[in-house]
Amino acid sequence: MNFLSLVSLAVPVLLLSACEGSLNNPYPDSESDKNIYYDSFEERPRHLDPVASYSANEYVFLGQIYEPPLQYHFLKRPYQLVPLTAREMPEPVYYNADGVILSADAPAEEISQVRYVIRIRPDIHFQPHPAFARDDRGEYRYHSMSPEAINAVHTLDDFEHSATRRLTAADYVYQVKRMVHPRVHSPIAGLMSKYIAGLDELASRLKTANEDNPGEYIDLHDYDFKGARAIDETTFEIVLKQKYPQFIYWLSMYFFSPMPWEADVFYSQAGMSDQNITLDWYPVGTGPFMLTENNPNRRMVLERNPNYRGELYPEEGEEGDAESGLLRDAGRAMPFIDKAVYSLEREAIPTWNKFLQGYYDTSGLVSDSFDQAVRVGSGGEVMLTEEMRARDINLLTAVTTSTFYMGFNMRDDVVGGDSQRARLLRRAVSIAVDYEEFVSIFANGRGKPAQGPLPPGIFGHREGRAGINPYVYDWVDGRAQRKPVAKALELLEQAGYSNGRDVRTGEPLVLYLDSPAAGPGSKANFDWLRKQFRKLNINLVIRATDYNRFQEKMLKGTAQIYTWGWNADYPDPENFMFLLYGPNAKVGSNGENASNYENPEFDRLFNIMKSMPNGEKRQQVIDDMIEIARRDAPWLWGFHPLAYSLHHSWYHNAKPNLMANNTLKYKRIDVPLRNKLRAEWNRPVWTPVIILVLVLLVSLLPAAILYKRRVERSIR
C-alpha cells in the first residue's frame, strides 16, 4: 500500500535525474553557455512608459531601454553628469525680459527665460519595432490597422515586420509634450509646468482637443509650444520660465527620453489597448537593450538592441578604480552581455539561496541573511563571513543618497511652532532618541546617523567635526558622541516640563507618533521608540496605521510626530533642502515638506542656494541653512542607510552608483567560470534520499508482518 506513496515521491525525482546538468538549475540547459546576466526582481513594474514611470523598480528596466540626453558617469565621484545621446553638455543661456543675454551669475529675479540647446549624436537608432515598419509603397504597415487585424494580435511578436529609424531631436520634443498629454499621467507634469515655458498652456489646448475628440489620436506635431522645439534634425531647445539650475539633472531622467511619434500612433489605435498592447507594456527605445519578454508575473528579459551604436566603456574613473580592475574594459564597446533575465522572486529567502547557488549573479542583503553573509568586527569594520569568502563572493557598500527621519509637525500645538519651549522640547527628544542604537539593532549597522538633511555624497554635506550637529552631538576623541540624556532632561526642564509633566498644568506629557509601519514586525521598533521617550519620562503613544491613512493625516496636518524618508532624485542639495522649504509645505501646498516647517530666513537662503553653482559661496549658504534647521530641529535627522550588495567572482565592473540606472551595459560576466562554479556548488546529494527510502522500507516491515498475521488469522 505504501508503494503508491513511494512511487509518488520517486517518479518526479527519477524524471529529474534523467535531465542533464544540475538538477536544481532554474534555467534551461541550453542557456548555460550563453552570455546572460541573471538577476531577480521583487515587485512588478507598473509603468514602462518613461513619461509616467517614477519608481526605482521600473527604472531597473527603463534605464537599459531608454536614453535621455544625459547620464551619470559610471565611475567618477562625486556624481557627475556626462552626455549620453547629447554630443556635449548643454549650457543654459539666460535672458532678461528684453531678450538680452545675461551672465550665469545674474540675479535669479532678473532672469525671465533660460534656453537649453541640446545637440544629439547623429548615429543613434531605435530598436526594431513594428511601429516603424513600412510596406513597398513606403506606407506604415501598422498605423491604421483594421479591428480584425488588431484582434488577431496579442503581443508584439505577432507582428511580422519591424524596422527602425534614426533618432531625431523631434523625438525629444514629442516626449516633452507628452508630459501634459490628457491621456497620459505624468507625475512631473505639475512640476515641469512651473518651469517649462508654455507647458501649462499646452496642457489646456490638449485637454480641449481630447474633449472635442475623445479617444482619438492627438497628433502632438500640430501643437507647437515655446517651451520645446526642434531646431534641426539633431538639435532641440528647451526654454524655461525662470532660472532652475537643477533642470540639468532632469535631463538625465527618463521623463526626458525620446519618444518616436510612430510608436504613439501605433499604440493609440482603437482596440490596441484592449489587446494589452500599450506603450506601458512594450517600450521602444534607443538604449543598449530592448525588452523582449515582459511577463512580470514570471520574468522580464532584456536582449541586446541590434541597432545600438556601441557606447565605449569610460576610460577614466576615480582614484583606486584602476587598481580594482574597473578600468580593465576601458575603451571597449558596450554592452558586454547579450541578454539579461530578471526572475520574479517575492520572498527574500529563496532569492538569497539561489544567489548562493550561483543562479543569480548579484544580490542585495536583507536582515534574514545578514549574519550568514557579513561579520562586523570589534572596530565596526564590515567583512564577509568564511562561507562567503570560500565562494569568492565580493561585498560592496555605499552610503545611499537617502535619508530616513523622524519629523515633528510644526503646526502642532505641543511640539510645533517657533516658540523656545517647543524648540527645546524637540531638541531634547533629538538627543534622547539614540539613532546609533537604532541602526545597530534594526539595520544590522547598515546606516550612518544623520547630522542634518544632506547625506554623504551630496554637495554641502560636511564630514568630521565641522559636520556634526552641535545641538545633539559633542566631538569627543575624534568622533561624534551623542550628548547625555541628562542634557536632554535639562533642556526639557528649560522647556517647562519637569519629570515628564507640564510645570504649568501638572499634566503628564504625552506625545503621539504616527507611523505607516503596522503589523507584528514593527512591534520591536515601537517598543524601542517608547523606551527612548521614556528616558525623558515622556509617554509616547504610537498610532500605527496603513500608508493610505498615514498620507491622509500628513496631508491634513493632523499627525504630531511621524517617520518618513526621502530618496534623492538628483545629487543636488536643493533636492533635500526643499523638504524643509516653507512654500513646499504638505498642508495647503501638497508639497514634500511633511513637517510644514517654515522659517523665513531658511526660505530666503533656499531661494539663493538653489540657483547657485557649487562652490565655496554655496557651501556657506548651505552651512547657514543647516544651522537654522538644526537649531529649530523640525526633524530628528535620523540616518542615511548603507546599501550592501554582493556579487560573485564572475561578475565584473561592479561599482555602486546610486544615481545611475543604466548600469547594465557596463557589466561583464565570465560565463565559463560561472558554469564551473555552479556545477561544483550544485551537485545532487542523493545519500539522504536513499537513507530515507531505506528507513521507510524498514518501517514498513512491522506493518507487513502484522498484516500477514492478520490475514492468516482471518483465514483460520
Partner: protein, 325 residues
C-alpha cells in the same frame, strides 16, 4: 434536477450581489479612490490635479455607493459600485487599474495555478487514502496509534515551515530541484515537484486523519460485519466494501473544491514564485488594484457556489437514493 439547478443559480444572484457589496465596502473603507490614484501615480510629487485626472479617467470620480446629485435611478447607477459591479454578472471583468485586460490575465494565470493544484489533488488523494486505509486496517494497534500521533504532529506544524523547510532541504541542501521559479511546457515539471511535494506533506496529517475516521465509520457498519461473516478476507472487505463506500463522502468533499483549483494557492505561489491566480490576487491587494480584487473575489464566489452545486449533483450520482428537488 434541471429545475433544481436553475433555482440554485437564481439563489446565487443575491449571494453574489451580497459578496460584491461586502467586498466593495471593505475595500473602500480601507482605500479611498484618492489612495488608489496615489498608488498608481507613485508616491513622489503627485499633485491633487493629477489625482483628480486619474480618478476621472478611471471612473473613480463618482460617489462610491450613492449619488445624491443624480436624478432618479442615477442615484444608484451613477456610482462607482454600480458601474463596476453590473458587468461582473456577465463575466466582463473589465480592465485593471493599471490598464490590463483582467479576463486575459486570468486566462493566462490560471494554468500555473492548475499545474500545482491538480497534481496535488490527485497524488494527494492517492497518498492520503492509502495511509488512511492502512491506519484503519491496523486500527487499535501501535501502528494506528503512532500513525495518528504522527498525523496530529504534522497537522500542527505551520504550512510555512513545510515550504521553507522543503526549499532548504530539497532545493538548497540536496540540490534536487530549483528552489523557486516557473517555466512553461515540460520545463515546468522541475519547478512543480517541490511545491506539489510540500503541499502533499503539509496536508497529509489532517487529510489522513479525516479519511481514517470515514473508513473506521464504514468498518463499523452492518454490511462490513456481514461481509466478514460471509468469510471474506480482510483485504477483500477493505478494498471491495470499506473503500468503495468510504469514497462517497471523500469524493463529494473533493467535488466541492474542484472549481476552486483555478484560484490557486496564495502562500505557495508566493514562496515558489509561481505566476498563478493566487499571486495575482496577492499582487492586486498589495497594489490596491480594486478592479482585480473585485474580479477575483467575484470569481471565487462563483466557483464556490458552482462547487456546492456540483457536490449536490454528485450526491445523486453516487447515491441513487438521493433526488434533487
Amino acid at each position: 434536477m434541471i429545475s433544481y439547478i436553475i433555482r440554485r443559480m437564481l439563489y446565487a444572484i443575491p449571494i453574489l450581489i451580497g459578496v460584491n457589496v461586502i467586498t466593495f465596502v471593505l475595500f473602500f473603507v480601507v482605500n479611498t479612490p484618492d489612495d488608489i490614484a496615489r498608488m498608481q501615480l507613485g508616491q513622489k510629487r503627485v499633485t491633487p490635479e493629477a489625482i483628480e485626472k486619474w480618478k476621472a479617467d478611471h471612473g473613480y470620480d463618482k460617489p462610491v455607493l450613492w449619488n445624491s446629485d443624480a436624478a432618479a435611478a442615477g442615484k444608484i447607477t451613477e456610482t462607482i459600485f454600480f458601474e463596476n459591479s453590473v458587468r461582473l454578472f456577465v463575466f466582463d471583468f473589465g480592465r485593471s487599474d493599471s490598464g490590463r485586460d483582467i479576463s486575459y490575465d486570468i486566462s493566462q494565470r490560471m494554468w500555473p495555478s492548475l499545474a500545482i493544484t491538480v497534481p496535488s489533488l490527485i497524488i494527494g488523494l492517492l497518498v492520503y487514502i492509502t495511509f488512511a486505509l492502512t491506519l484503519a486496517f491496523f486500527r487499535a494497534t501501535y501502528i494506528d496509534t503512532w500513525g495518528v500521533v504522527l498525523c496530529v504532529v504534522m497537522m500542527s506544524i505551520s504550512s510555512m515551515f513545510y515550504i521553507i523547510g522543503g526549499q532548504y532541504l530539497v532545493g538548497k541542501l540536496l540540490h534536487l530541484v530549483p528552489i523557486s521559479g516557473y517555466d512553461t511546457g515540460t520545463e515546468a515539471i522541475k519547478f512543480l515537484v517541490l511545491p506539489v511535494l510540500v503541499g502533499l506533506v503539509g496536508s497529509i496529517g489532517s487529510s489522513t486523519r479525516w479519511y481514517r475516521t470515514i473508513f473506521l465509520e464504514e468498518m463499523g457498519k452492518d454490511f462490513v460485519r456481514t461481509a466478514r461473516a460471509k468469510g471474506l478476507s480482510e483485504t477483500v472487505v477493505l478494498y471491495r466494501h470499506v473503500l468503495r463506500n468510504g469514497l462517497i463522502p471523500i469524493l463529494t468533499g473533493v467535488v466541492v473544491i474542484l472549481p476552486m483549483l483555478f484560484i490557486g494557492s496564495l502562500i505557495t505561489e508566493s514562496f515558489f514564485a509561481i505566476p498563478g491566480l493566487g499571486s495575482y490576487t496577492i499582487d492586486a491587494i498589495n497594489n490596491q488594484d480594486f478592479a482585480i480584487v473585485r474580479s477575483m473575489v467575484f470569481l471565487g464566489s462563483v466557483l464556490y457556489i458552482l462547487g456546492l452545486l456540483l457536490t449536490d449533483i454528485s450526491y445523486t450520482i453516487v447515491d441513487p437514493r438521493i433526488r434533487l428537488s
